[in-house]
Amino acid sequence: MSLLEIKNLHVKVDNHEILKGIDLTVNAGEVHSIMGPNGSGKSTLAQVLARREAYDVTEGQIIYNGKDLLEMKAEDAACEGVFLAFQYPVEIPGIGNAYFMRSALNAIRKYHGLDEMDAMDFLPLFKEKLKLLEMDEKLLNRSVNEGFSGGEKKRNEILQMALLEPKLAVLDETDSGLDIDALRIVAKGVNTLRGPERAMIVVTHYQRLLNYIVPDFVHVLVNGRIVRSGGPELALELEETGYAVPA
């Protein structure tokens, strides 16, 4: 059984059709990259997978881990192991980063009938993940994403992923706006999490990221449809030819 099966997915946003019939199958252990020009629907797909309610699914279905993903609320999907690394991580003044992540981890633990983790148990785990992403410990008590640089925000997303250990991770343009050092650190974090139990969908605008996170499959999304699929070599080809739809 596949971990994720998207069948004929049509999505409207503000009465405007963005996704026009997407089919995609992702198995555990695989990394898929979705590439495409601006406005092709990449982020919409990512947000639908994370169950953002403003996106109106008009047709099709998404089966995740044998369950109907479209029936799930955002928090349920998260507890079932879906994780979205946001393109634009949200700043939440007044909530400490460590507190936020412990709340998230505990919400998921509770969902699975596990004991909640107290601050004492959580801290070493949190520090270990901070180290993985080469993040400063002072980010521990700062408000969520508030005053973080672009690179720090993206690293903070991967930090959450490392902590929550999702089954399906969707990375929405995690590489955009990163300098090469930050990109390497983010990629290292992501690669550490690759494993036979976990699948990833890496949404990107630029081929550059895929030098560091080598996907098993590459899909080209143009105008709400997947127009081509192939192996990692497809990304290189796109770098040469751009996103022009082949005749």
Partner: protein
């Protein structure tokens, strides 16, 4: 003013009765203070919404009700324990405005600190009271202050002598009880913190039973040179309660005063905070949080007077309003002619959780000096949908996510309170209150988006 005359007879009757038995009735200065204040109240009456200072708050429900002066009521130790704060050495309990020695615990205090009920202090030691009582409160302009002064008898009396540092808060608990007739009380607190002394005072207003009650409280807080004072005002009475409170702060040279107002309860609430920075280099923080739902009306009126050079004042008020609640923020800053190098800042941020909630926010700057820095700003927003989704996408359910966001907003105020038992108490109250609010808020999908209403609002997280 018309409204006042309706019940004037009742007040006159109460006042006549009061004069016969009140503590200090034989003291000419006190008699005089009370009588002239009562005369002023009769003259001016209750304010109406035509009065600029009361434009957004209609007190006719108070003016129309015939209140009786509070009388003795029995409250058990258990009830006080349930309402109060555990682990505090010095707690004064007032039942319907009257000091209850049996329910209070003054405990061991450092030398140079006296804590008493005002009524007992008047009887035992009227000289110390005379030099401050009624010297600062504006009974001429404000008729509620006049009314309070007319009935001024009991409340908290705190005197900290020069250089004494008091680490534990002095906690004043005001309990109003149920009664078959509407009751009024006029607690009057006098807090004198001498030069270089340090203290924290908490006023906490609660109620037992749900009948109409009118608490009209006034506090005069005198902070000497270099004194460091924190004052907390917590309103958590039931929804039938009317609460008008006035905190008048007189600051000496380089005194540092923080006022924290937390309005959670009460039906019709008006909280006046009026610091006068009378000496050079004084600093004043006026920090507030008001959280309303149902039909609560929570009015915050600040009047910050810069009377000396080189003083700094900061006003930060955050409001959270749900259902049909109505909040008011009126921040007035007066910079006198000689108060050069004044640095005054005012910020009011509001979250409206329903379409029927309402906030009126009004800055008012009167500047007569020419070398000053004054800024003010206000925002009105909703819970940001992006932030809510972000939290939910991490597994946190919608109600918890809402609570977290409300808490984050409230935390801005909590963060301005120095760590202490008082702050912990406030934090617990706010947490419990916000959980109730988060549970009752309708999901976003059923709330019309602000764009549709053509309102000019800014989203804040």
């Amino acid at each position: 003013m018309i409204a006042a005359t309706e019940q004037l007879g009742t007040y006159l009757e109460s006042f006549t009765e009061f004069q016969k038995r009140a503590a200090g009735r034989d003291l000419p200065w006190l008699q005089n203070l009370r009588e002239s204040a009562f005369a002023r109240f009769c003259e001016v009456g209750f304010p109406t919404t035509h009065d600029e200072d009361w434009r957004f708050t209609n007190v006719s429900p108070i003016a129309k009700t015939s209140f009786e002066l509070s009388r003795d009521a029995t409250v058990t130790k258990q009830e006080v324990k349930r309402l109060g704060v555990a682990g505090l050495g010095c707690q004064l309990v007032f039942i319907n405005g009257k000091f209850s020695r049996g329910l209070s615990a003054i405990g061991q205090l450092p030398a140079g600190v006296s804590v008493n009920s005002l009524a007992e202090e008047i009887s035992a030691n009227s000289n110390s009271v005379e030099s401050h009582l009624g010297r600062y409160l504006d009974t001429h302009r404000d008729s509620f202050s006049a009314l309070n002064t007319a009935f001024a008898e009991d409340g908290g009396y705190v005197h900290v002598r020069r250089g004494v540092v008091l680490t534990d808060p002095i906690y004043l608990l005001f309990v109003s009880t149920a009664n078959d007739k509407p009751l009024m009380s006029h607690p009057r607190n006098l807090i004198v913190i001498e030069n270089e002394a340090q203290a924290t005072i908490v006023e906490d207003y609660v109620s037992i039973g749900e009948t109409a009650a009118f608490s009209n409280t006034a506090t005069e807080l005198i902070a000497g040179e270099n004194a460091m004072v924190s004052h907390y005002m917590i309103e958590r009475e039931h929804r039938q309660a009317f609460n008008i409170s006035t905190l008048r702060i007189q600051q000496g040279r380089s005194a540092n005063v923080s006022s924290h107002s937390v309005l959670l309860g009460g039906g019709l609430v008006r909280n006046n905070v009026h610091p006068v920075l009378a000496g050079e280099g004084g600093e004043c923080l006026i920090n507030g949080l008001f959280i309303g739902n149902g039909h609560q009306h929570l009015d915050n009126y600040m009047q910050v007077e810069h009377a000396s050079p080189h003083c700094a004042s900061r006003q930060f008020y955050n409001g959270i309003l749900d259902d049909h609640a109505h909040g008011v923020f009126h921040g007035r800053i007066i910079v006198h002619k000689d108060a050069q190098k004044t640095d005054a800042k005012q910020t009011n941020r509001n979250l409206l959780l329903s379409d029927d909630a309402r906030i009126d926010t009004k800055p008012q700057l009167e500047i007569y000096a020419d070398d000053v820095k004054c800024t003010h700003g206000a925002t009105i927003g909703q819970i940001e949908e992006n932030a809510l989704f972000y939290l939910r996408s991490r597994g946190i359910d919608e109600i918890s996510a809402r609570k977290l966001l409300l808490l984050a907003f409230a935390n801005e105020c909590l963060d301005r309170m120095a760590p202490s038992v008082a702050r912990d108490h406030v934090e617990n109250l706010i947490h419990a209150h916000l959980l109730l609010i988060a549970n009752s808020v309708k999901p976003l999908s059923t709330v019309a988006r602000n764009e549709d209403l053509g309102r000019n609002v800014e989203e804040i997280g």
